[in-house]
Structure formats: structure tokens, C-alpha cells
């Protein structure tokens, strides 16, 4: 195999599973270490640099980082990355002095942003400090997008949302509430240098089966949640059926529980294995007494005398044939109810964008948007968040915002938007003495901390009682130690190795092998423990000095315990703290290199690299 090129930031970045899994590449292990040291404000600011809304996301993030977390592969449960973020947000001091500064003198460029959801807000967050004038148009009378109107207050308190939205608005954003954009043509005719569309995917999907239009009390999930938010809806019947089993369904059933629902059933077409809702949201719903009914396909609404009395379902039996799922109808059942909420998905709708102004739409009615630059077919118009490729989540909306801001900045400077700024990396030894490292390398066998919830009885009294209490100090102390510090890399220097096998023998999880070189397929089978997880890289060194064999490391379950480096007599293995340097609009990666993280002089073997390769 080609020796692994660790000077490309991509290699070590991928080892940091959580950060690699996070759409915005939040530096998780570093923020967890800061929490461990009680440096909550710094931890919060580190979070904010990449994910912009740590308090909101610490409660609501879809957390793609957690299934990616190495700890899952080691002991089955990921580090509670998301809820630790909340710890930093809850315990931080006032951060106003540390927020990006906005220059008095503007750069003369004006940007229009449609919608005040997380995507647009992120664009504004990145562009305001560069002197841009940002005008945000919002249809509703308050900012925040779906974070405000659809995520219920018992999951996300308004105060948390208000504060983090205000951090951006208070940079001097020209926020125009209750001002829907009704014509893109008209907007483009105004004097803006670029337009960003962050209008979300505002339409709930319909279920057009018999009886749908014959009765009231059949609601569309996201519209109903919005009405609940605006207090246009303050009660619901005792028996409620929720159709669909995604995250919207979870919010609908739990909100129903708080508005008078007693007998609430979430009706799913398939079995639990295929549910779209996150497992923790399902657990929370079950804890609140919601029933989840599997393998029921809706057939028709049962309406008597103009009144909804129930819904008829086909009971399905699923079987697998040739890798395909087939269903068979067993029988038909009618379940009585007072209300039905449809939560079967969201769609995009752009009635306000004319189709003859150079913005191409595909057959599905979606704008054609470039995956890297976020620009649509009309130069100077960018899309992001749910508006770009359909419903996603907040953290993707944020990442789209960052990338769109980079493009807008290039565009306004007359640079090609395909010129993406380069990534960089720092790699500095974590050694601070004999067998001493500047991180806690001892493996903690502690189980994942379980979130404590408010008592059920108190929970349903008001709509906005936050259910999760957050971690206690003790829980936090344990949970931070579960993090394996995957950014503290095992860094190998082949010419130093004397092939004594000490590292191979000491590694508790059989990561290391010294063997003759070969093609990757073959090498993977010849290691101390076969490297079966193809999603994880194997590191291959240059030829070793004494025997010309190679050092191979399977990254899969490395604990980053540093024992290999402790046992190595020649420091051929060293533990090095890796930081991927991420560029933002107007802030190249080297900016951080010079200011925030200087490389100690005299450590010439240590790397600071800039790379133009995409991550």
C-alpha cells in the first residue's frame, strides 16, 4: 500500500469520528476537554465558531456525531456529545465581549436573505463581521424559523432561542418581520449584491384518502405545531391518532399530551426498525404514555354526520424477498378517535419564485443548487437549509449557511465562487513529561450518563416546562471522561522505529501490527485483529529501517490511550493533538494558525499544514 499521507488534514480529521460526522465539523473532543476543565465559556465559543447555536443544538440537534462516535464501537454507547454541549451553554458566562465584532464602516455590499431560520441567520453571522449589510425578510412576526414555530418549548425554551438568535440580530442585521417575499423578480430588481434563500420546506404533506375533506379535526403536523406555538390551538380531543413516525410525529404526540390528549396513538406503516424518529425521541414519547402502533397503513377517515369518529387501517404483515420488503394485508381495523394529525413529511414550495427569471427548477419542483457553492442557476442567488434540497435539520442548515457565506463573499469580491479557501491543520505533541500527557488518557469504563427528566405530573401542567433537566455536575464529570480524545492522534515516525514490538504488545485493543507490506485488501486480513470495518481507515507507514516491513494501524477501535507512545522506547509513536483548521467567509484557515494556536518554536518535527484539498 502507499504509505499514508498524514500531512493531508483529511486523514487525521477522519479519525475524529464525531467531528467528521458533524456537518459543521464542530471540534467535539476539544470542547469536551474544556468542559472537563470547567472552562464553559471557552467551550461555548469553540462550539459557536462552527455550529453557531450551541444552546439550541445542545437540546435539539439531530446529533449525527453520536452514532459516529468511536465509543459506540468500543462499548456500545456513544459519548453524550449533544447534552454536554448544553452543559457548556448552560454554565457559560456572558459571552458578549467575545462575539465577532462588526465594523463601523461597512463594505458597501447589501445582501437580501429570505427567511429568518438557522440557515439565513448563519449567513448573517458570517457576513456581518466582514462589513456586509444584511437584510432579512421574515414572513412571520418572530425570527427563528422552525426552531421557533415547530420545535415545542418543552424541548427548547424560548429564552435559549431568543438569546442565540439575538446574538446575530444584534450585530445590526436589518430584520424585517411580518414581511413575506412574494416575488423573487421584485426582490432581484432591488439593489442587492446577492440573495440568499433560506425559506425552509414549509409545506406539510397531505394524505389524500377517502374522507379527508369531509370533516374538520384533521390537521397537518407542522401547521398544527405552528398554531400551537402561536396559541391559536390550545386544546385537542382525548383520543388522538398521529399518522407517521418521524420526529414531527413525536413532537405532535407529545404536544397533544399536553393539550388534553389522553389516548394517543402514533400509527406506523412499518416496524420499529424502520422508524424515522430518533430513538431518544421515541423513548421520550413512550415515557409520556404515547402508544406506538406498528404495521398499520391508513385506508380512510371514518366520518359520521360530518364528524370525524375514527380511522380505518389495513394491518400489514411484512416479509423480505430478494432484499425487498413486501407487505400483505391481514385485515382491516377501525380505530376510534377525536383528532388526526398528519405527520408524514414536509415539502418545499416556492410559489413566490417566478420560473422565468433564470432560476432553474427540476422535475420535482426543487431548485437546481450546486452542492459545494450553494448557488442556483442564476449567479448571485444562493440557497441553503431546507430550501436547498428538502427537509434536513438545524446543523445542516448551519453548514449550508457557512458555505453560502463563503460563496457570497467571493461573489461580492469578484472572485470565482468555486475558489474555496483551503483547510489547514495543527499537529502538536501532547507530551508534557515522562509518561505524562496533556489530556486525560486513562480509559473510563463509566456507562453513558442518562438524562434526568422532569416528573411526569409536573411535565403536563404547562406547554413550556422543559423536560430535560440537563446533566448534574457529577454526571458531567463522568461523561467527559468517557470521551476517548480522538483528536489526540497516534503519530508515527518510521525512521525511529527499532521494531521491538512493544507498542504492538501493549495495545489493549489490537490496533497495531508490524508486517510485510501488501495491497489493502490483503493487509486488512493479516492484522493483530482483522480490520473488518471498511468505513475506518488503516494507517500504513513507510518501510521500517531494520526489516523493511511496515507499521500498520487499524483506526477502528483505538482508544487514544497513548500506551503505544508510552511503551515506545524511541518515541516513534507520539501522541499529537490535531486541530483541523476550518476556513469561514473572510477568515482563511491560516488566520487561526497565526493567532489562536501558535506552534511552539523548536518543535520543528511538528506539523502545521495548509491544504487546498477538500475535506
Amino acid at each position: 500500500m502507499q504509505p499514508t499521507d498524514v500531512t493531508n488534514p483529511r486523514y487525521y480529521h477522519k479519525v475524529v469520528d464525531c467531528q467528521w460526522g458533524c456537518p459543521a465539523h464542530t471540534n467535539v473532543p476539544e470542547y469536551i476537554r474544556l468542559i472537563a476543565q470547567g472552562r464553559y465559556t471557552e467551550s461555548y465559543l469553540l462550539n459557536r465558531a462552527s455550529n453557531v447555536f450551541p444552546g439550541i443544538l445542545g437540546r435539539t440537534c439531530d446529533r449525527p456525531c453520536e452514532p459516529a462516535c468511536r465509543r459506540t464501537r468500543v462499548d456500545g454507547k456513544p459519548v453524550a456529545i449533544c447534552r454536554l454541549k448544553r452543559v457548556a451553554a448552560d454554565l457559560r458566562d456572558d459571552v458578549s465581549d467575545f462575539l465577532p465584532k462588526v465594523p463601523e464602516r461597512k463594505n458597501g455590499k447589501r445582501i437580501a436573505l429570505v427567511g429568518a431560520g438557522p440557515a439565513s441567520l448563519t449567513v448573517a453571522n458570517d457576513l456581518m463581521p466582514l462589513g456586509y449589510e444584511c437584510v432579512v425578510f421574515e414572513k412571520l412576526d418572530r425570527p427563528g424559523g422552525l426552531m421557533r414555530t415547530n420545535i415545542p418549548a418543552f424541548r427548547l425554551p424560548a429564552s435559549v432561542l431568543d438569546e442565540e438568535v439575538a446574538m446575530i440580530i444584534d450585530m445590526g442585521v436589518d430584520l424585517r418581520l411580518a414581511t413575506p417575499v412574494t416575488s423573487m423578480r421584485a426582490l432581484l430588481a432591488e439593489d442587492y449584491d446577492a440573495v440568499f434563500v433560506g425559506s425552509g420546506a414549509p409545506k406539510g404533506k397531505e394524505l389524500d384518502v377517502p374522507g379527508r375533506w369531509d370533516a374538520k379535526r384533521i390537521h397537518i403536523g407542522i401547521e398544527w405545531l405552528e398554531s400551537v406555538h402561536f396559541e391559536h390551538v390550545t386544546s385537542i380531543g382525548e383520543r388522538v391518532l398521529i399518522i407517521g413516525v418521524g420526529n414531527t410525529a413525536m413532537d405532535c404526540c407529545r404536544s397533544s399530551r399536553r393539550l388534553g390528549g389522553r389516548d394517543i396513538k402514533v400509527m406506523a406503516r412499518r416496524s420499529r426498525k424502520y422508524f424515522k424518529a430518533s430513538p431518544w425521541e421515541l423513548d421520550d414519547a413512550l415515557e409520556e404514555g404515547v402508544e406506538i402502533v406498528e404495521n398499520h397503513a391508513p385506508r380512510r377517515f371514518v366520518v359520521e354526520n360530518g364528524r370525524l369518529v375514527g380511522m380505518e387501517f389495513e394491518r400489514l404483515a411484512w416479509s423480505e424477498k430478494d432484499g425487498k420488503q413486501r407487505s400483505e394485508v391481514i385485515d382491516t381495523v377501525t380505530i376510534p378517535c377525536d383528532d388526526v394529525i398528519l405527520a408524514i413529511g414536509q415539502e418545499n414550495a416556492f410559489p413566490w419564485i417566478e420560473r422565468d427569471i433564470g432560476i432553474a427548477f427540476d422535475d420535482a419542483g426543487m431548485p437546481v443548487v450546486d452542492r459545494v457553492t450553494m448557488q442556483c442557476s442564476r449567479p448571485g442567488v444562493f440557497f441553503g437549509g431546507d430550501a436547498a434540497w428538502g427537509p434536513e435539520n438545524i446543523i445542516w442548515a448551519v453548514e449550508h449557511g457557512h458555505q453560502a457565506a463563503i460563496s457570497i463573499h467571493n461573489y461580492c469580491q469578484g472572485l470565482p465562487i468555486t475558489d474555496r479557501p483551503s483547510y489547514g491543520m495543527n499537529l502538536v505533541s501532547a507530551k508534557v513529561g515522562m509518561h505524562a500527557w496533556r489530556y486525560s488518557n486513562d480509559y473510563s469504563p463509566a456507562p453513558r450518563a442518562a438524562m434526568t427528566h422532569v416528573e411526569l405530573t409536573q411535565r403536563f401542567q404547562k406547554l413550556n416546562v422543559e423536560v430535560e433537566l440537563g446533566f448534574t455536575a457529577e454526571q458531567t464529570a463522568h461523561e467527559v471522561e468517557r470521551c476517548l480524545n480522538c483528536d489526540i492522534q497516534t503519530h508515527f515516525t518510521a525512521p525511529l522505529c527499532i521494531e521491538c514490538d512493544a507498542c504492538v504488545d501493549v495495545c489493549p485493543v489490537n490496533c497495531l501490527t508490524i508486517t510485510t507490506d501488501g495491497p489493502e485488501e490483503d493487509l486488512r486480513t493479516r492484522l493483530s485483529a482483522p480490520a473488518l470495518n471498511r468505513t475506518q481507515e488503516i494507517y500504513v507507514s513507510a518501510a521500517l529501517p531494520q526489516t523493511q516491513r511496515v507499521m500498520v494501524k487499524d483506526e477502528d477501535v483505538c482508544l487514544h490511550c497513548g500506551l503505544c507512545a508510552e511503551r515506545c522506547p524511541t518515541a516513534a509513536w507520539d501522541m499529537r493533538e490535531f486541530t483541523v483548521l476550518i476556513p469561514y467567509a473572510g477568515k482563511p484557515a491560516s488566520y487561526e494558525l497565526r493567532t489562536a494556536n501558535p506552534i511552539p518554536s523548536g518543535l520543528s518535527s511538528q506539523l502545521a499544514v495548509r491544504s487546498s484539498q477538500p475535506l
Binding site: R73, V74, D75, H435, A436, W437, Y439, S440, N441, D442, Y443, P445, I498, E499, C500, D501, A502, V504, D505, V506, P508, V509, N510, A529, P530, L532, Q546, T547, V557, L559, C561, G562, L563, E566, R567, C568, P569, T570
Partner: protein, 351 residues
């Protein structure tokens, strides 16, 4: 953080042996030897060998003397019996263990100082008695524990770390053992587990004394340029004479039918040692020829390794003495020690 013990968490895909154990279950305490010491690799090789043999850890006895090498019995099979004897006296203790309980698998670990200086007489008599013992001699050419003085295995001309050459001729444990009539003689290198593990397994299966001399570089006091026991020197001068595969009893049939086998030796328990290749004029079952061949290569400056000599026919200590099959520890005290009256009667016969 300061130095940490090896955490008990293990690779999820680690294979299990017939007892349901992983190699991690055969580990001992955390080594306190210098990082990079050859002895630690030998420990790892022993763990691999006993795991592959499905050895129940509580049926083994670990015996050692004094030295860095002798400390290593603490670093594997924490569930086993163990005795850390005084300097050079491990063979006497091993003889006692083997006499008392012939069912225990005895693993002795010693150093070149422990075996060839203070304990030389003990080693010779253990060979002569042919006690059933795997005797691992971790050979680094120095007294590591006492900071690197030349040992009796240091080669003439090999230099100390401070540059003084050794002037006294070495004792070669392999040639010594063959001379004394040892029934299993091998040499390995800590840096080559592929070779060492089958040798250790064969040594454990051998009924009788199995001497395994393992070149085991001392990273701290004897791994420099002018040393003849360094990693680099050993790699540069090693001659693998008789590589073996060890085929346990369960695989016997397949092993026996391999065509063109140069030499296969069937062990007392039915397992087979198969020599993958041996030189034309070399026969690892012919004591005189083996001795002469090793001498010849050694005279050319080569470090000869492999399973160099094997004799499966000789009886071990219990065989020679005609001891009962039952371990003495299980014989009721009354029959083991028939009492004063019986003694008087016996003595009467000689009067």
C-alpha cells in the same frame, strides 16, 4: 495524566479459544520493565502460545529467579500459580513443583545472568533430571536489573554501553544443553514471534526439559552500535536453521499426510512438530550432527535460531523414577508418609 495501567476493554472481534478465553484473559500485571525491552515481547509470545494451546491458566505454575527477565512471570497469566525463587534457584523450585504435582504445566523464566552465572549448576542438573519444564532463557548478554554488567553469554568483543569490550568467552546455553543431554533445545528472537510462538508451544507439549534460549535485546544497556545482542545485530546475523510448525493433536491427521515432509516428530501426546525445512546435512533428531552443525554456523558469526534438537523418546524425571501417575499432591497423606512404624520397619531391614 501519568502512566496508566492497560485498560481491560478489548477489541470486540478478539477470537476466543476452546475455553472461551481471549489472549487478554492470559495477561498479568502491567510490565515495569523499560519500554521496548525484548522480555516484554517474549511475555506476549508466551501469552499467545498458551492461548493457542487452550491452557487453563489455573493449571500452570510460573517459576523464575531474579532479574528483569525473572520479573516477567508477573506479567502473564495472573490466575496461575507462581514462585519467584532466589537468584539462580528457579530449577530447584521447579523440580519440587514438578515432583509434587506432575499435572501442572511448569513454565520457567530466567535470564542469562540467572541461568549462566549464579544458577549454572542448577540449570545443568535440571537438564540432567529432565524435569518437565518449559525453560525460557531471556538472553540479553547483560545483567539488566543491576544496570548492564556483562553476563556469561556476552560475546568476545561485544562492547558495553560505555565502550569497553568483553574479553571472556561466552557460555552458549544451546550448546551447553545439547552437551548435557537436554531433550528439547531451541533458540528464538524476541523480535520474531512467528518463529517463537510455535517453538514455545512445542516446548510446552514436550514431556521433559525444554530449553528455549531467546535473544532478547536490553534496550537500555545493550542495544547500542557495538553490541552483539542488539535488535539490529541480531536481525543482521540471524540464521533461521530449523523453522517449525506445531500441529496439536486435533489436527494430527491433516499434518501427517503432508507429502515431502522433511522431518516430522510426533510428540508424546500425539501432536506433531513439523520442520518446514532443514539443511541437507542437518537432522534435528541427531544430537551429534546437530551440535556440529550449530558449531559450524556459529564459527561463521551467525546466530543460529530454530528448534535445534529434539528427542521425544527419553523419559522425564517421573519416568526415570517410576513415580505413580497420580500427582503426589493428591495421594492421601497417610500413604505418602506411612508413619514412624513403617519407617522403623524399613530401617530394620538394613540392620
Amino acid at each position: 495524566m501519568t502512566s496508566i495501567p492497560k485498560p481491560s476493554v478489548r477489541h470486540p472481534g478478539l477470537p476466543r479459544n476452546a475455553l472461551g478465553l481471549t489472549t487478554r484473559d492470559y495477561e498479568g500485571g502491567m510490565s515495569t520493565l523499560c519500554a521496548g525491552c525484548g522480555h516484554d515481547s517474549i511475555t506476549a509470545a508466551i501469552i499467545q502460545a498458551v492461548w493457542e494451546l487452550d491452557l487453563p491458566p489455573h493449571r500452570a505454575a510460573k517459576l523464575s529467579g531474579i532479574g528483569c527477565s525473572s520479573k516477567t512471570t508477573a506479567y502473564f497469566m495472573r490466575q496461575s500459580h507462581g514462585f519467584n525463587a532466589v537468584h539462580g534457584r528457579m530449577p530447584a523450585v521447579a523440580s519440587g513443583v514438578h515432583a509434587a504435582n506432575r499435572e501442572l504445566v511448569c513454565i520457567g523464566v530466567s535470564g542469562d545472568g540467572d541461568s549462566l552465572s549464579i544458577g549454572l549448576g542448577q540449570l545443568c542438573h535440571a537438564i540432567r533430571r529432565n524435569i518437565n519444564l518449559l525453560y525460557v532463557l531471556e538472553n540479553n548478554g547483560v545483567y539488566g536489573l543491576t544496570k548492564g554488567q556483562f553476563s556469561a553469554s556476552a560475546d568476545v568483543g561485544s562492547k558495553s554501553k560505555r565502550g569497553e569490550p568483553n574479553v571472556q568467552p561466552p557460555i552458549d546455553p544451546v550448546l551447553l544443553a545439547i552437551t548435557l543431554g537436554a531433550t528439547f533445545v531451541a533458540r528464538g528472537f524476541s523480535g520474531d514471534k512467528k518463529q517463537l510462538v510455535p517453538i514455545l508451544k512445542a516446548g510446552l507439549a514436550h514431556r521433559g526439559f525444554a530449553l528455549v534460549d531467546v535473544i532478547s535485546p536490553c534496550v537500555t544497556f545493550n542495544d547500542h552500535e557495538a553490541s552483539t545482542k542488539s535488535y539490529r545485530f541480531t536481525r543482521g546475523h540471524r540464521h533461521e536453521l530449523a523453522p517449525v510448525d506445531f500441529i496439536p493433536l486435533t489436527h494430527e491427521i491433516a499434518a501427517a499426510t503432508v507429502p515431502g515432509d522433511p522431518v516430522s516428530v510426533t510428540m508424546h501426546d500425539g501432536s506433531v512438530v513439523r520442520f518446514r525445512s532443514v539443511g541437507e546435512d542437518y537432522d534435528p533428531t541427531d544430537r551429534d550432527a546437530a551440535y556440529a552443525h550449530i558449531r559450524r554456523l556459529q564459527a561463521q558469526g551467525e546466530v543460529v535460531t530454530g528448534l535445534l534438537y529434539i528427542d521425544e523418546r527419553a523419559p522425564d524425571m517421573h519416568g526415570v523414577n517410576g513415580t505413580i501417575e497420580e500427582p503426589l499432591t493428591r495421594v492421601p497423606y497417610a500413604s505418602l508418609c506411612p508413619g514412624n512404624a513403617a519407617l522403623q520397619k524399613l530401617q530394620e531391614e538394613y540392620r
